[in-house]
């Protein structure tokens, strides 16, 4: 009986997370277009619905009803499954991420996390790395040189930034002594001064940069930069398969925002009179906004510059950070 209850609870949570995050990912596309437009003194979508709000529905209908094209020389099964991998891994990574503090609903205590595993951070980073198979397989199966270049760039980018991500979170983990995101959150109870960002500023910056690389956002959007590789791995995709890549990218963006908020910015602890859930929403919104903001402001860098900065600058800095943290802890 107990196991059935857990199963049902987990299922309900999973469905809610997937539905809400997919909806937020869709809405984020609208927000992105609006924010970018305002920053470039444009209006953005205005015609579909009030202030273009229904543009989202129009885009959705367009994506769903478009013809599903598989190019002639493409490897069909791989071509068709690649976007599913990209979207699935983005959502699977959310299984171990807590969103809000626990609350009581109809007499039940609800933990807004699908599964509180003790290696949550490792799990999230691992699944996010598996997500690279989406672009890689898409690019290699498309029979298109731009796709292949995009896939190659995706792999070199991942090899570069994954090292930085892992090493940069190592220092905070050494201080906390746990990989569970709930433990990491609880470590920062007690106001802004207890946030890890003050104790680990370098790790914060490194992890934020790696987050931008992981989500392929500007200034590290080398793998699908129009001016150089058309649309990178997604060149041959259309309709809903392309939409899955898109949803995956935005879901990744939300995951990274939640991760940074929990790891370095106090997570869902309440602050002064603001409840924890609202704090979390504020922080995640700020991070999503930052992703769009940076895209409006900064040019992107070349793949060789990206590798240079990862291997020659960020990785040594991360190692130095670990060393210093280790000495301080001893």
């Amino acid at each position: 009986m107990f196991e059935t209850a857990v199963l049902v609870e987990t299922l309900v949570k999973a469905v809610i997370v997937v539905a809400v995050v997919a909806g937020m990912a869709g809405f984020a596309t609208f927000i992105e277009r609006k924010v970018l437009a305002f920053m470039q003194r444009r209006l953005g979508p205005m015609n579909v619905g009030p202030y273009g709000l229904l543009q989202l529905a129009a885009d959705g209908i367009k994506l769903f009803t478009k013809e599903d094209i598989v190019p002639q020389n493409a490897v069909k099964p791989i071509f068709m499954i690649a976007p599913v991998i990209a979207a699935t891994t983005a959502f699977v990574a959310m299984a171990a991420v807590p969103y809000f503090p626990e609350f009581t609903l109809f007499g039940y205590v609800i933990h807004p996390i699908i599964s509180d595993i003790n290696v949550a951070l490792l799990y999230v980073m691992g699944v996010a790395s598996v997500g690279i198979y989406g672009p890689l397989l898409a690019g290699m199966s498309s029979a298109n040189k731009w796709s292949l270049l995009g896939a190659a760039r995706a792999v070199i980018q991942m090899l570069s930034f994954e090292v930085v991500t892992g090493l940069s979170v190592l220092a905070p983990i050494m201080m906390i002594g746990s990989l569970s995101l709930i433990d990491i959150n609880d470590y920062q109870v007690g106001g802004i001064t207890h946030w890890l960002i003050w104790k680990q500023p370098l790790a914060f910056i490194l992890f934020a940069m790696a987050g931008f690389m992981e989500t392929n956002r500007a200034p590290f959007d080398t793998i699908e930069f129009e001016a150089e590789v058309v649309a990178g791995y997604a060149t041959e995709y259309s309709g809903m398969r392309w939409g899955l890549f898109f949803i995956g990218e935005y879901a990744n963006m939300i995951t990274i925002s939640v991760l940074v908020s929990i790891l370095f910015m106090g997570g869902y602890n309440s602050l002064w009179f603001i409840p924890g859930a609202v704090m979390m929403l504020i922080k995640v919104s700020f991070w999503v906004f930052l992703f769009l903001w940076v895209r409006a402001a900064w040019p992107h860098i070349r793949p060789d510059q990206l590798m240079w900065v990862c291997w020659k600058v960020l990785m040594p800095l991360a190692v130095v950070n670990i060393l210093i943290t280790g000495f301080v802890l001893i």
Partner: protein, 204 residues
């Protein structure tokens, strides 16, 4: 004037020449450059500028079908044939100057002598597939009869649309409602044209 000055005579004084940043020669200089660029905060200046523009909300978009840009009077779009203000009859006297001067040879006119033995224009058409909108016809017209309008939405089902006499001539309704505007643009009389007129020298 030296050759250098001559070559740069379009550059106003006070122009600052920038030779470009010196490339670092040693590893230490390259390192210094990296550190300087990293800590200078230029990236945050960029972030601030786009954020400032977003807060200012100084939107430059014209929402086209609902809002339209006001064209300059000197804009040269589809031609118009005007009527005389006094009588409402056509200004065109059929002199054929526009037909002659048209460099893309796209104006055709037909004239005949009517029962009052006056020359009238029976047909007048412009082939807008050929017209390059140079404005010579408006400039050469002695009667200010053919002028350029500001209508720039010229999508149509028929190639011949807009180019026939009936399309270009001010409709009588519009004329009677006093809505025929004098053309202030290319080839028209200037505002002080009356002052510029001199007496015909008869002394010789």
């Amino acid at each position: 004037m030296e050759l250098k000055d001559f070559k740069q005579r379009n550059i106003s004084p006070g122009y600052i020449f920038f030779e470009g940043e010196k490339a670092p020669e040693t590893g230490w200089q390259a390192f210094q450059k990296v550190v300087k660029r990293t800590l200078k905060g230029e990236l945050f200046v960029g972030l601030w500028i786009v954020f400032r523009e977003m807060i200012r909300f100084d939107i430059h978009t014209i929402q086209y079908p609902a809002q339209k840009m006001e064209m300059s009077p000197r804009y040269r779009a589809i031609h118009r044939l005007l009527r005389l203000f006094e009588s409402g009859s056509e200004r065109c006297i059929g002199c054929g100057l526009c037909e002659k001067i048209c460099i893309s040879n796209c104006i055709r006119m037909d004239t005949h002598i009517d029962e009052k033995s006056r020359k009238v224009v029976s047909e007048y058409s412009i082939n807008f597939g050929r017209c390059i909108f140079c404005g010579y016809c408006a400039e050469v017209c002695p009667e200010l009869a053919i002028v350029h309008g500001v209508e720039y939405e010229n999508a149509s089902e028929q190639r011949a649309h807009f180019g026939l006499k009936a399309d270009m001539l001010t409709p009588l309704d519009t004329f009677r409602a006093n809505e025929q505007k004098e053309f202030p643009g290319f080839g028209a009389l200037s505002d002080n044209a009356d002052e510029a007129v001199k007496q015909t020298p008869l002394a010789y």
